[in-house]
C-alpha cells in the first residue's frame, strides 16, 4: 500500500466542514454504513440525517430509536401492518403519540397513512410547527364522518402549514372546501396544494375549486383533478379558468387534470383521434388565463376532451409566461402545423425544457420538426397517442435535439413499432438516461416469440445500466431507467397463455439490472372462480414471472393481475414460488394481498430484508373479510423475517 505524501487524514477536516459533507449524502444505505465507522461518525451521521422512513411493526413502536432527533422529514405511512389505523391497537395511544414527538422533535414535514380521523387527532397536536403534510389513504373514507372533520383536526393544530398533499388520500371532494374556509389565515399562507386525486376517480367540481382557490390567494403550486366534460355538473368552463387565474396569480406550477385521465386505461378515441365531446374552453379565454399567470413555470392541462385550434393561445404562452419550462397538453389539437418547417404554435415556446403531448390528433412529422427547431432546450420529450406521427418525424426530432434530450417517452402511437423506434433513438443513444417505449411488434420482423392471448396489458419498468443492445452494436451508455409496455395479445376466447413465457429471462443479459417494477395490474381475470373460457390468473402469473429468478434483482415492486369481480389483487402459488427463487432479492413490495402460506415461501430468500404488502390501489380491501393477510399472519411473517436464525450475508 502506497504511503501518501501528505499527513492530513479525513478526520482532520474541521467538524463544521465534515457536517456539511455528511449532510450532502442522501443514500440511506451509505449513511447506515457511515454511521458504523466510529462513534464520531455515528453522531455526525445522526445529526445530519434529515429524512427518515419508519419501517417495522407498529406494536414495536416502543423500540423506536431516539437518536434521529435531527430528522425534519418523517414518513410514517409504511409502518406494518400497512394501512391499519396507526395507534388504534394500543390501550394508551396518546402516550405513543407523545413518544413519537419525543423521538422526532424537529419534524416539519410528515407523511402518514390516515385510516380514520383518530390518527390525525393524536398526531397533529404533536407537531404544531408542521409545514408540509402528505396524507395517504387508499381505503374508503367512512361514510359516517362529518364533512371535513379530518382536515379540521389537522388545521386546528398545525397553523403553520404551508403545503398539503392529498393526492393519495381518499376523501370526498366536499370535505376540503369547508375546512379551508374555516381557517382563513392558514389558507392564506398555503403555498402548495396537491388535490390531484389518484385515489379515486372523482374530480373537483368547478365551484369547489373556486372556493378553495379564493381562500388561498398565495398558492404557488396547485395540482387538481377536475371535470372537463361539459355534460357533468361542475365542469370546468371558461369562467372557471379565468376565476382561477385571478384567484391565484402567483402560481408557478399548475396541473389541471381531467379525472378520467387517471384511470390508467388507454384512451378510447375514434379513428381520427378526437373524443366525442369537445371541452368548453375557448382559445381566447386561454390567452387571458395565460396572461393572468405570468409566473408560470410548469403547466399541465390534461383535458381529455378536444381543445381545437389551440395554436394562437400557445403562441402567446411564450410572451405571457416567459418562465415556462415544462408543459403537458392532453387532447389539444392544432398545436403546431409545422408548415414550411417554420416554428409556429407551441414551437414558439423556445424556453421549454420539458414537453409532453398527449392525444393530439393532428400532430404530424412536420410539427415534430418545427418543435425541435423552435425549442432547442428540450431535454424531456413525451408523445402519447398521436396517430399521425411516424418514425421519420421522431428521428428528425432526436437528430436536431441530440445535444439536449435525455428523457424520452413514446407510447400508443400506432404508426410506430419497436424496431423503427429504436432506430430513431440513434442520435441520442449515448446520452439518453430515461426511455419508455411500447413493445409493439407488428410490421417488424423479430426473433422474440409472440405471446398469446388475453385482453390485458403488462407494463414492465426497470432501472438498468444497459451494456448491450441487440439491435445495434453501439451501447446505451447512460441509460438508467428503461420502461416497456408489453401488450399480451388481443384475441379473446383463449383461456390460457401459451406455454412459453413473457421472456423475463432475456433480461438476464443485463447483469446490473437490480431494480424492477413489474406492473401486471392491467391483466384482468379470475382468481378462485374461473368460468370456463375465461383467463385463470394463476396461469397468467406463471407466464409473467417465469424466468425472474435468472435476474440479479435487489428490489422488486410487483403489481399482481386483478380479479375485478371480487376486488382482489393477490399472489397465487406460481407467483409465490417463482418470487421465492430470486436469490438476491433484498426488498420486495407486493401491491396486493397474499396469504400466510405463500408469504412464508419468501423466507427461502436468504438476503430478503424488507417485505410489505401494500394495497395502494383504490379501493383498498376494507377488512379481514377481503384480505388474505391478517394482522396476526403479518406479525408472524415479519417476526420470522427478522429472526436471528437468518444469516444475512451483508
Amino acid at each position: 500500500m502506497a504511503v501518501t505524501s501528505s499527513d492530513t487524514h479525513f478526520l482532520d477536516i474541521p467538524d463544521v466542514v465534515l457536517t456539511i459533507i455528511f449532510s450532502l449524502v442522501a443514500d440511506t444505505r451509505t449513511r447506515n454504513a457511515m454511521s458504523l465507522v466510529c462513534l464520531k461518525w455515528h453522531l455526525l451521521e445522526r445529526s445530519t440525517r434529515k429524512s427518515l422512513t419508519l419501517r417495522g411493526n407498529v406494536r414495536d413502536l416502543f423500540l423506536l430509536p431516539t437518536c434521529f432527533r435531527a430528522v425534519t422529514d418523517l414518513d410514517l405511512s409504511l409502518l406494518s401492518p400497512w394501512g391499519h389505523p396507526l395507534l388504534d391497537s394500543f390501550p394508551n395511544p396518546l402516550l405513543l403519540a407523545q413518544f413519537l414527538r419525543h423521538a422526532f422533535p424537529s419534524v416539519v414535514s410528515l407523511t402518514v397513512y390516515v385510516r380514520n380521523p383518530s390518527t390525525l387527532h393524536l398526531l397533529a397536536p404533536q407537531w404544531p410547527d408542521l409545514r408540509h403534510i402528505k396524507l395517504i389513504r387508499w381505503h374508503q373514507r367512512l361514510p359516517t364522518l362529518p364533512l371535513g372533520i379530518e382536515f379540521v383536526a389537522l388545521f386546528e393544530h398545525c397553523r403553520m402549514l404551508s403545503s398539503l398533499d392529498v393526492s393519495h388520500f381518499h376523501c370526498w371532494t366536499e370535505d376540503l372546501p369547508p375546512a379551508i374556509q374555516a381557517y382563513p389565515m392558514l389558507a392564506a399562507s398555503l403555498s402548495q396544494l396537491n388535490i390531484l386525486k389518484h385515489s379515486s376517480v372523482e374530480g373537483f367540481k368547478s365551484h369547489e375549486l373556486l372556493a378553495i382557490t379564493a381562500s388561498c390567494p398565495n398558492l404557488r403550486e396547485l395540482l387538481a383533478t377536475c371535470i372537463f366534460d361539459h355534460r357533468f355538473v361542475g365542469f370546468v368552463s371558461d369562467e372557471t379558468l379565468l376565476a382561477l387565474a385571478s384567484n391565484c396569480p402567483s402560481l408557478s406550477l399548475l396541473h389541471l387534470v381531467d379525472a378520467t385521465s387517471l384511470s390508467n386505461v388507454r384512451p378510447d378515441l375514434n379513428d381520427d383521434g378526437y373524443t366525442s365531446e369537445d371541452a368548453s374552453i375557448s382559445r381566447s379565454i386561454l390567452c387571458d388565463v395565460f396572461a393572468g399567470l405570468p409566473l408560470l413555470e410548469v403547466l399541465v392541462l390534461d383535458v381529455c376532451h378536444n381543445v381545437r385550434d389551440a395554436w394562437p393561445a400557445l403562441e402567446l404562452l411564450n410572451s405571457k409566461c416567459p418562465r415556462l419550462k415544462s408543459l403537458k397538453l392532453g387532447q389539444f389539437h392544432g398545436i403546431c402545423s409545422g408548415v414550411d418547417s417554420r416554428p409556429d404554435g407551441i414551437a414558439l415556446c423556445h424556453g421549454l425544457e420539458s414537453l409532453s403531448i398527449k392525444n393530439s390528433a393532428d400532430l404530424t412529422d412536420n410539427s415534430l420538426e418545427a418543435i425541435s427547431l423552435g425549442c432547442p432546450k428540450l431535454s424531456k420529450f413525451e408523445v402519447l397517442g398521436c396517430k399521425k406521427i411516424s418514425a421519420k418525424g421522431i428521428r428528425k426530432l432526436t437528430h436536431v435535439l441530440r445535444n439536449t434530450l435525455v428523457d424520452v417517452k413514446i407510447s400508443s402511437c400506432k404508426n410506430l413499432n419497436v424496431v423503427s423506434l429504436l432506430q430513431t433513438m440513434e442520435p441520442i443513444r449515448d446520452r439518453i438516461e430515461r426511455l419508455h417505449i411500447d413493445c409493439v411488434w407488428k410490421n417488424a420482423d423479430n426473433s422474440v416469440k409472440q405471446t398469446a392471448s388475453s385482453n390485458g396489458e403488462t407494463r414492465l419498468k426497470k432501472k438498468n445500466k444497459s451494456r448491450d443492445n441487440s439491435f445495434c452494436s453501439r451501447t446505451w451508455s447512460k441509460l438508467q431507467h428503461l420502461s416497456l409496455w408489453i401488450a399480451v395479445g388481443d384475441c379473446s376466447g383463449e383461456r390460457r397463455p401459451c406455454t412459453g413465457s413473457l421472456g423475463l429471462r432475456y433480461l438476464a443479459r443485463y447483469p446490473s439490472l437490480s431494480r424492477m417494477l413489474l406492473d401486471c395490474s392491467g391483466v384482468i381475470g379470475y382468481g378462485l372462480t374461473a368460468p370456463p373460457g375465461y383467463p385463470d390468473l394463476s396461469l397468467w402469473e406463471r407466464f409473467f414471472l417465469y424466468g425472474i429468478e435468472n435476474l440479479n434483482l435487489n428490489e422488486l415492486n410487483y403489481w399482481p393481475a386483478q380479479d375485478m369481480d371480487v376486488n382482489q389483487r393477490s399472489l397465487f402459488l406460481p407467483a409465490a414460488a417463482l418470487l421465492a427463487q430470486c436469490g438476491s432479492l433484498r426488498k420486495l413490495f407486493i401491491h396486493g394481498t397474499a396469504n400466510e402460506h405463500f408469504m412464508m415461501f419468501l423466507l427461502r430468500i436468504p438476503t430478503l430484508r424488507d417485505v410489505q404488502l401494500r394495497e395502494d390501489y383504490y379501493p383498498a380491501p376494507e377488512n379481514d373479510m377481503c384480505t388474505e393477510m391478517r394482522a396476526e399472519s403479518c406479525r408472524r411473517f415479519e417476526d420470522a423475517l427478522k429472526s436471528i436464525n437468518r444469516h444475512i450475508p451483508d
Partner: protein, 271 residues
C-alpha cells in the same frame, strides 16, 4: 385471545337472537362469504372462521394425523362452538365443510338447529351405482400435480402446477382453490377429500338439512343432491340454483344470496 380463536381467525359479527356459523370450503378462507355477511349481521350473530390448513392460517398448527380424516375438522368445529358457549346454531357449510358439519351434528345434534349445505357431496369418486362426478384417472392427474409440487417445495424448487393445468374440467373446477395452500398441506387435504366417503353415515343425521347447489357445478353433479336428499336420515329439502360453478356465493351472489337467506330464515315445512 384464546388459542381456538386465534388459530381459526375466529370472528363474531352482528347481533340477533340466533347464531349462524359460516364454514368455507377447502382452499378458500372466510372471505368467501363476503357478499353474504352484510345481509346477515342485522338479524343474526354471525360466526366466521378459517379451517385449519387454509392459506390464511398458521401452517404449523396443521396436524397431519388429526386432519387425515374429516373428523378432525369436525372436532375443531365443536371446539369453536364450545369456546363461544353456543347452545344452538344454524350451520352453513360450503363444499367439504358441509360434510364436516354433518359429522359434527351426528355427535352433537343438540348444537345444530339446521344445516344448510352448499355444493356438498358425500363422495366424489364414482362407484358402482353411484355417480360422484370424478373418475380415478381424473384424480390421478391431480395427485401427480400435487405430488410434484410437494417434491419441488421440499427440495427448494418452485412448485408450479396449478388447477388450471388439469385436463378434466371437473377437477379444474374443484381443485383450483386447493392449490392455495402450502404444498404438503394441499396434498394431505386433497387425499383426505377424495378418500372420504360419507354415504354410510348419512342416515345417522337427525338435524334438518337444506341442500343447495348450482345447476352447473362440474364438481358436484345434480344427482348428488338428489342422493343426499334420499339418504339423509333427517328431513331435507333440495334447491338447485341457476348459477354455475363450485363457488356460487362468490361468482353469482345475486342468485345465491336470496336463496341462502330464504333457507336460513325459513324451516322445512312438516305439513
Amino acid at each position: 385471545m384464546g388459542i381456538v380463536e386465534e388459530a381459526h381467525n375466529l370472528k363474531v359479527l352482528g347481533s340477533g337472537d340466533r347464531l349462524i356459523v359460516l364454514a368455507h370450503g377447502f382452499g378458500t378462507d372466510q372471505s368467501v362469504w363476503k357478499h353474504l355477511v352484510p345481509h346477515l349481521v342485522d338479524d343474526f350473530r354471525v360466526v366466521l372462521y378459517d379451517n385449519m390448513g387454509a392459506g390464511t392460517t398458521n401452517p404449523d398448527y396443521f396436524d397431519f394425523n388429526r386432519y387425515a380424516t374429516l373428523e378432525g375438522y369436525a372436532f375443531d368445529l365443536l371446539a369453536i362452538l364450545e369456546e363461544l358457549g353456543v347452545d344452538s346454531c344454524i350451520f352453513v357449510g360450503h363444499s367439504v365443510s358441509a360434510m364436516v358439519g354433518v359429522i359434527a351434528s351426528i355427535s352433537r345434534p343438540d348444537l345444530f338447529s339446521k344445516i344448510v349445505m352448499i355444493s356438498a357431496s358425500p363422495r366424489y369418486l364414482n362407484d358402482v351405482d353411484y355417480y360422484g362426478g370424478f373418475e380415478q384417472e381424473d384424480l390421478d392427474q391431480l395427485f401427480e400435480a400435487m405430488g410434484s409440487n410437494y417434491k419441488a417445495w421440499c427440495s427448494g424448487f418452485a412448485p408450479l402446477a396449478v388447477g388450471g393445468d388439469m385436463e378434466s374440467v371437473a377437477v379444474q373446477e374443484f381443485s383450483r382453490t386447493l392449490f392455495n395452500m402450502r404444498p404438503d398441506i394441499a396434498l394431505s387435504v386433497a387425499q383426505t377429500i377424495f378418500q372420504s366417503d360419507m354415504r354410510q353415515i348419512l342416515n345417522l343425521v337427525s338435524v334438518p338439512c337444506h341442500i343447495i347447489q348450482s345447476v352447473k357445478d362440474l364438481a358436484v353433479p345434480v344427482v348428488v343432491s338428489e342422493y343426499l336428499h334420499q339418504n339423509l336420515g333427517s328431513e331435507s329439502i333440495v334447491e338447485v340454483m341457476t348459477s354455475d360453478g363450485h363457488l356460487p356465493q362468490l361468482s353469482s351472489p345475486d342468485i345465491v344470496i336470496p336463496v341462502l337467506l330464504k333457507h336460513i330464515r325459513y324451516d322445512i315445512s312438516t305439513a
